[in-house]
Amino acid sequence: MLELDSVSKVFPRGAFGRSGVTAVRDVSFAVRPGEVVSLIGESGSGKSTIGRMVLRLASVTRGRITFDGADIAGLTRTRQLREYHRRVQGVFQDPFSSCNPVFPADRVLDAVRRGYFPDVGAAEWRDRVDAALEVVRLDPAQVRGRYPHQLSGGQLQRLLIARALLLDIRLLVADEVISMLDASTRIDVLNLLADLRARGLGILFVTHDLALGNYVSDTTVILRRGRVVETGATATVFADPLHPYTRRLLASVPRLRRRWSDLPDEPAGARPCPYHERYPRGAAAGPPLLAVADDHHVGCFADDGKPC
């Protein structure tokens, strides 16, 4: 459904943009209907930039992003872009900054009607809104006419997901949607994403939190400095991480019932990077990804000579 093919993003820097910063480099992956793909990375890994490019909020410098085979860079007319956004929507980290605090929160739902469904009558629209709220398990009476500050972060975030569902979406870009929520409510939003997947929605789940990515996703893409370091079926990547960076990252994740000090430190170079074994000169020399198994690929972010 969604496919990224060697996508790069260069942000111009310096006088007249003569030098550039490459935020995303040669990234390829796909999201199929009913699949959750986790895009995991630390700050500066390019994960949010990829989400923004998929939503057409940022342009692609090189490579192609296609949705059902059509290059989304070709959607230049307002009408075409509107059609695209009927299918592909985003939800972001801070639900409160997605809403205007001086208006009731459900105004974002009416905006969908004004923008996309001007012909739908008031009564039918009400039914549709109720149905969408039911999917995200919100009581319509609880949210109608309420202002953003009267709702919890989790409720507001679910309202924004309901907004996306009012459109006939097939792909949802969820960018750090739960990192601002409290522990007792964030799991509800994660479960909701899993329910939506069961209904055939494709989800691109952007996060810095490996535990959350693991809970809900089918496929994991681990990014570092704009490159894919490791990708594959989530269960495989988490059970058998092959790239030294992925292993370091997993070892640093704080877990309950297992302290950092309980884990023996892996001596540097104990398990070398499989990518470097094959392409000793690093990311500059080989293809972006090396297949180590059918559904498990390893890349590299280190340039010449630097260890990874």
């Binding site: 522990a183 693991n214 704080p254």
Partner: protein
């Protein structure tokens, strides 16, 4: 006993009335103890941390006492607290990274801070450099502007500064929450190192992240609705929690390895109580699956096992 907090009450003044952010908090902290203070937003954890060092303008000390090494801390009296701050009690505030003045070199800021406290810069400079090296920073960072440092570096600079005079108590408020996982680990482990070397005697690590604080804390306190729900040794709290809130909270945390298909975790329905006019009795009552009539009466915070305190009628 390094720190003894007894029935501490701190309220926020608002036009609609007093918000009871701390409503009777009692606990003790031993010499050398690192305790994690965990809670969700609005539970009062930041207020508790701040109360021990500096009440801000809207906060009012309504009742209770705080004793450090047997001496009462005059927490309601900002001028008298000045004697203790930085020397005896110190804080790494939330968003410490943005607490550095962007127009000043870090070294300049340090000199100004020391001068304002009547401490000669020359005398502490060697120790300052030694401690910066200990957390992996070259003393040259003192010549840099805050914008030139990464978030983790700034966090470590603030940490070294806050503990420079070897305070008896350090309150570290969400020091790792804005950092990447690998940096997070380095900063958290540096906190333990500081305690082990005696730069800080006891520490309260305020956080919303139970798995993070479990890594470094000797004991963990869980706060709910302005009161302590539970305090226990870290392992006991995580493996044998007694308070229904702690249990539900731990059960809602996805761990690496737990997948949705295998085990669907559940959140806690409902929301935290309004602290402007909180309900009588146990604050968790409305969301608690075990609640009955008795819970209309406030449960005492009692010791149910060695060093394991719980405020719940059902926890006995």
């Amino acid at each position: 006993m390094a720190l003894q907090v007894s029935d501490l009450r701190v309220h926020y003044r608002t036009v609609r009335g007093d918000v009871r952010a701390l409503d009777g908090v009692t606990f003790a902290l031993a010499d050398g103890e690192i305790t994690g203070l965990a809670g969700e937003s609005g539970s009062g954890k930041t207020t508790l941390g701040k109360s021990l060092v500096r009440l801000d303008g809207r906060m009012r000390h309504v009742g209770g006492r705080v004793e450090l090494d047997g001496r009462e801390l005059p927490i309601g009296d900002s001028a008298r607290m000045d004697r203790f701050r930085f020397h005896e009690v110190s804080v790494i505030p939330q968003y410490a990274m943005s607490a550095l003045n962007p127009t000043r070199r870090i070294g300049t800021m340090v000199r100004e801070l020391l001068r304002s406290r009547g401490i000669g810069h020359r005398a502490v400079r060697p120790e300052l450099e030694r401690r910066l090296r200990l957390v992996g920073l070259a003393p040259e960072v003192l010549d840099r502007y805050p914008i030139e440092l990464s978030g983790g570096m700034k966090q470590r600079v603030v940490m070294v500064l806050s503990t420079l005079l070897d305070p008896a108590l350090l309150v570290a408020d969400e020091v790792t929450s804005a950092l990447d996982v690998s940096t997070q680990r380095a900063v958290a482990e540096a906190l333990v190192e500081f305690r082990d070397r005696g730069y800080v005697r006891s520490m309260i690590v305020v956080t919303h992240d139970l798995s993070l604080v479990y890594q470094i804390a000797d004991s963990i306190m869980v706060m709910y609705g302005g009161r302590l729900a539970e305090k226990a040794p870290a392992d006991a709290l995580v493996t044998a929690p007694r308070h229904p809130y702690t249990r539900r909270l731990l059960a809602a945390l996805p761990e690496p390895g737990v997948r949705h298909e295998d085990k669907r975790l559940a959140g806690i329905p409902g929301g935290p109580p309004e602290l402007l006019d909180p309900p009588a009795g146990c604050r968790f009552r409305a969301r608690c699956p075990l609640a009955d009539d008795r819970c209309a009466e406030q449960p005492p915070f009692t010791e149910v096992a060695p060093a394991h305190f719980v405020a719940c009628w059902k926890a006995g």
